[in-house]
Amino acid sequence: MCKPYRYNNLSYTVADDSDVYFTVEYLSDGNSGLTSVDVPGTLDPEIKNAGKVFIGKGKDLRGEATYVSSNIDNKVSQEDEIRVKYLINNEELVEHHNLKSEAERITVILKITFPRP
């Protein structure tokens, strides 16, 4: 089973003309996964494993929430946890952590809104 972990009500204040970058950072060793970002409009970038993607200008992210689904697993026997950090414009949004005894395959679901300053 791919255990879901939901982080709702996340928010990042950003100006209309500011570029917004979304980052996935793997903290624990041997993670493997794919993160899909669903922003209002047609731009729906993906991040294989860890990395950073441009998700739009601040004004493009108003109205609807942005959804992120991060499907991650850890197949390394020596590692006992999955620890992942999500950032927007290099600022920490949320850090997820679970022991592998709880779940080795997880889906981290983020619901983010981008209000004006």
Binding site: C2, G33, S36, D38, S69
Partner: protein, 441 residues
């Protein structure tokens, strides 16, 4: 050779006297426990430096006094005590031999208060050891891993997109903004999302259509949506999607493959132990040190049931110690064990054939020459054994085994070397043989 036919319920035992002969073709998982012949009930495996300190402090300090704990075994993997943000790719393809050595290094510690000397007196012993593995992948291994990675990525792409759409609908239901708050309408709404995502990722119309229908059919068993808590339903829906995508199956296959990759690997291990014959710290010996080098090659494809392993083990014995505390035993200072094992494992039956040899030598004081210099003579001994085994799994817990071959000469009866042993082995959920190296004990 006199035939020895035994029917018993014990695992095949070849324990010899004084110096053990080669009876295990693998470098031990816990070299420290192995060199003491310890089979502890519990092996402590601290994951952090803090838990390591706690384990050592609570075991070696009692009533504020240092002690050698009894039946103690500890395994610690220093690299894995903290996070390094190591990607799976870096883990699978280390850039250097040093990386491999450090990442696979495990340090072991074991001790006992019941180490029996030759006169059966009990003494304290403390063993330490380490073990690491070097792996040399090949083109096939990389292709297999790339194939697993592609399959996993395709599954994740589909799963993520379906999950996001389901989450959006779930939020809308919870906030009373959606008409799809009934199971039937929810599934009707999800149908094009499932189909389009499958087609976009797999580019196969028939497959996309068939799997979409299968997912919707499986959803018949789901309960109605609770509008107060739609995410219980959505989690069940996502589980059905994952099952149809074979997410768990591919994960487990990938994980199993990583544990037993095709190609050549070398296990390198070392262990030594200190014995305190009078149970005083000031009076200690290091009776034995061992070094194992175990190369093995694992086949894949049509021959993936075959494993070939070799072993080279060097044992160094403290002769004066053994002469003093084990006077009845014949001990050589330098001992080299070598062996080869070929194993073919099928679903119910496994066949194994092992050959093992030992060559030992010591220099013994033979007298003094006219100038007063010590004269030595070289003593040498060698032996060889070969044993074939058939194991049949009657059930998961019961294994019927038959061993046939020629074993090392026994000290008591050198003519009795034929082995013909039928055994029935029961498993009761104890630590498995991979942990304790029990398979030949």
């Amino acid at each position: 050779m006199k035939p020895v036919i035994l029917i018993c319920t014990l695992i095949f035992s070849l324990s010899l006297f004084g110096q053990e002969k080669l009876n295990n073709l693998q470098a031990p998982t816990s070299p420290a426990s192995s060199i003491l012949d310890l089979q502890p009930k519990v092996v402590l495996s601290p994951k952090t430096y803090q838990t390591l300190e706690t384990a050592l402090f609570s075991s070696f300090i009692q009533d504020f006094r240092p002690v050698i704990p009894n039946d103690f075994s500890l395994e610690f993997t220093p690299y894995w005590a903290k996070n390094h943000s190591l990607s799976l790719e870096d883990y699978l393809y280390p850039k250097s031999i040093t990386d491999q050595f450090v990442r696979n290094l495990s340090v072991s510690l074991a001790s006992t208060q019941n180490f029996k000397l030759g006169d059966s007196a009990q003494s304290n012993s403390l063993a330490f050891g380490w073990r690491t593995t070097f792996y040399f992948g090949n083109k096939n291994d990389r292709e297999i891993l790339n194939d697993f990675e592609k399959k996993s990525d395709d599954i994740r792409k589909v799963y993520n997109r379906i999950t996001i759409q389901a989450e959006k609908t779930g939020d809308a239901i919870q906030e009373g903004r959606s008409d799809n708050d009934k199971k039937a309408s929810f599934l009707l709404d999800m149908k094009p999302v499932i189909y389009n995502t499958l087609y976009r990722v797999y580019n196969d119309l028939d497959m996309a259509e068939a799997m979409t229908e299968k997912i919707l059919l499986d959803c018949d068993t789901l309960p109605e949506i609770d509008t107060e808590d739609p995410f219980t339903f959505i989690d069940l829906f996502n589980t059905i999607v994952d099952r149809n995508l074979r997410g768990e199956v591919v994960f487990n296959e990938y994980k199993s493959y990583i544990k037993e990759r095709q190609g050549l690997s070398f296990d390198l291990a070392y262990a030594g132990f200190l014995n305190f014959p009078s149970n005083k710290f000031e009076y200690a010996f290091m009776p034995r040190q061992s070094l194992w080098i175990t190369p093995s090659y694992r086949f894949r494809g049509d021959y993936d049931f075959i494993v070939i392993s070799g072993v080279l083990r060097y044992d160094w014995y403290h002769e004066d110690y053994y002469r003093k505390y084990f006077p009845d035993n014949i001990v050589f200072k330098n001992n080299l064990d070598y062996g080869l094992e070929i194993a073919a494992r099928f679903r119910k039956i496994s066949l194994e054939f092992e050959m093992a040899g030992r060559t030992s030598n010591s220099y013994v004081l033979a007298g003094v020459d006219l100038q007063g210099n010590d004269l030595y003579r070289k003593e040498h001994n060698s032996d060889f054994q070969y044993i074939g085994s058939v194991h049949y799994n009657l059930t998961d817990q019961i294994i019927l085994s038959y061993n046939l071959g020629n074993r090392f000469e026994l000290i008591q009866d050198q003519n009795s070397t034929l082995v013909s042993l039928l055994s029935l082995n029961f498993g009761f959920g104890a630590p498995d043989k991979n942990i304790l190296d029990l398979q030949y004990k």
